[in-house]
């Protein structure tokens, strides 16, 4: 079963590699992955869809939480969340089918982003399963070319973001002293 993991990460070189490394080191294949900046340009939001053995999911999430560049990891697989994906699709068609395609596009709330004698380019968003259907329908009209964005998701529960505070630099921050400032969870 596919799982959805949402992460808030520092927008730094290598951060993506560290996160995906937790999965690839265990031989898990990533189904989809999206990353983009948040309101804070120093942070990125990452949504990963992956097929992880459910018994190992908690472990994988803990490992991701351990990464220095990762601020927060949320498991959206079993918590209330809204997930959406976007598809850009080009369908080649003859003149006879053009009206039918536009009707179908309307049913799926897809928008026409390009129209030419060869056919249309369409844009649709929605739940991934709905997009699967949309693609199937379009395929019945002719040759298609598809680009999917991968899933983005937002949790419907608010989760408090806990961050470590700054600490002194240098040997003054001895092993234990350096932890005085660290919050107790």
């Amino acid at each position: 079963m596919l799982q959805v993991i949402s992460l808030l990460v520092e927008n730094k070189p290598g951060a993506l590699m560290r996160v995906t490394g937790v999965l690839s080191a265990r031989g898990y294949n990533i189904e989809s992955l999206t990353v983009a900046r948040t309101l804070d340009p120093g942070l990125s939001r990452m949504t990963i869809v992956v097929d992880v053995d459910p018994s190992l999911r908690r472990q994988v999430i803990k490992q991701m939480n351990k990464l220095v560049n990762v601020l927060q990891v949320s498991d959206l697989s079993e918590s209330p969340a809204v997930a959406r994906e976007m598809v850009l699709l080009r369908v080649r068609t003859n003149l006879d089918n053009r009206t039918a395609i536009l009707k179908e596009a309307e049913i799926f709330s897809a928008r026409v982003v390009d129209s030419s004698v060869e056919g249309f380019a369409l844009e649709a968003t929605g739940a991934p399963e709905k997009l699967d259907e949309f693609i199937d329908v379009m395929r019945s009209y002719g040759e298609i070319e598809v680009t999917r964005s991968g899933m983005v998701a937002v949790s419907l529960e608010s989760k408090k973001l806990r961050l470590a505070p700054p600490i002194l630099a240098g040997a003054e921050s001895s092993r234990i002293d350096s932890r005085n400032g660290v919050f107790n969870g």
Binding site: V9, P13, G14, G21, Q59, V68, I167, G170, A171
Partner: protein, 577 residues
Amino acid sequence: MSSNLMSGARMLLECLTREGVECLFGYPGGVTLPFYDALYEHPIRHVLVRHEENAVFAASGYAMSTGKVGVCCATSGPGATNLVTGLVNAMMDSTPVVALTGQVSTKLIGSDAFQEADTFGITRSCTKHNYLVMSVADLPRVIHEAFHLAKSGRPGPVLVDIPKDVFAAQTHYTPVGSIHLPGYKIYTEGHTGQIRRAAQMMWESSRPMVYAGGGIVAAEASGELRELVETLDAPAVCTLMALGAMPSSHRNFISMPGMHGSYAANMAMTGCDLLIALGTRFDDRVTGRLAAFAPHARIIHLDIDPSEIGKNRNADLPIVGDAKRVLSKLNKVLAELQPSLAQQNSDARRAWWKQIRDWQDQNPLQPVISASEIKPQHLMLEIDRISNGEAIVCSDVGQHQMWAAQFIRFNRPRHWVCSGGLGSMGFGVPSAMGAAFANPDKLIFAICGDGGFQMSIPELATIANHGLPVKIIVMNNGHLGMVRQWQDLFYNNRLSAVQLDTFPDAQKLASAYGIKGRTVESPIELAPALQQAVDEPGPYLLNVKVSPFENVYPMVPAGAAINEMVLGPPQPVAVPK
């Protein structure tokens, strides 16, 4: 704060000084030239090793024997890739190490330049965290972050990759005041409610058992551990990484558990009704077949790393926190509850101790001693006698490591240094070098097999060069003994590629490096030869020829439960005529 113009290399040295670094182990190269030039007139001591892998092993020995951060440096490309084994080793054993590597100039990165390797990519999975410093302005902050990450929380290796032009760039240096790693959260204190529940579970238990791991050593919590064990009067085992966390002579200490652990330790782990796991990770060498491990026990698991909780064995009561802090709180609660709760199971506790003493008596760890040949266990007993719990013993990996762990006793932590999780041969000699630089007044043994020693021979030069008082004891059985043991027991004794037929003449080898050395073969020579090695000022190479086909027992075969030990070699059976 003053601000002055200096190179990145100089700035790096300033930061190392602020971190209290006294010595670093390294090997120079093309791209680290600016760094070595700055080092030329700097008080930080640089130890030139003979291979980069040994630089990181030496830094690990330094770190494990002191608790301070060990520092090593290497050049780009092959220098950096040679560090990889040692970084994985430090990762597995949670050793605080900072590795500094040179990189080709920023403009050349990605062009397949001479001695270029993607060090940042290669070491991503073998470090706690790593950095590629693309601007000299970032360098001081990164260095302080690296040290903080290496030593805090669950310690580990951190690598900083520094391009040549960043070393060379001149800029105004302002000391970094504070660093901020918002995603690096360490939970140190432990949940108060969980601590109280843990104390209750401890008093309610009839057959408690303390299972202490390397986290106790890392947190400097051996005093707190001892108080816990004594208050509760529970039997305690220390894992390979924790030997010395309890004094070996302590009456509650029942040795090491696991694949080559003591009979009593493994039986007690199997029979207990409460397993108090402290700073340990339920490693497969300890648990044997996981499904049959501690089958009757509820588990209290204390660790600073949340990802260890429930990784291998589900914890009935997890506590995330620093072992020292949590145990000192726990000890207070235990003492508070003692008057009301301690008596309830006193009969059961007495029976539990009787059972443990019986196990100890039935199958004690018994050294084999022969008059005709030196048995490996005999060698370890002699080292134990001469060390008297006080020497720092750095071990390589293999049979000798297990015998050393079984028979050498330690009075305090940080006196036993070995490669545990990774099991990396070639660790013994360089880690002893690191320990020797950190502990100039200590007696230091490097115990190796003839296999591992031959991986470390180049470092005899470093040892000779600095006159390090490292006593290298080669337990020479002419084989890669642990692999031979498995071939013997599980592959019909078809000995494939395990004979080490050629070994250099130890005396000649040592004298070629200008140090003393000899070979002993006869049991009566052993004690005097060891005494001579210890009495000799400076380094000594003692090659001890031991019986070639001795196996380490007890042994838990792969896939067996830890109470299914093989206690010794198959005994000859009398065949009726």
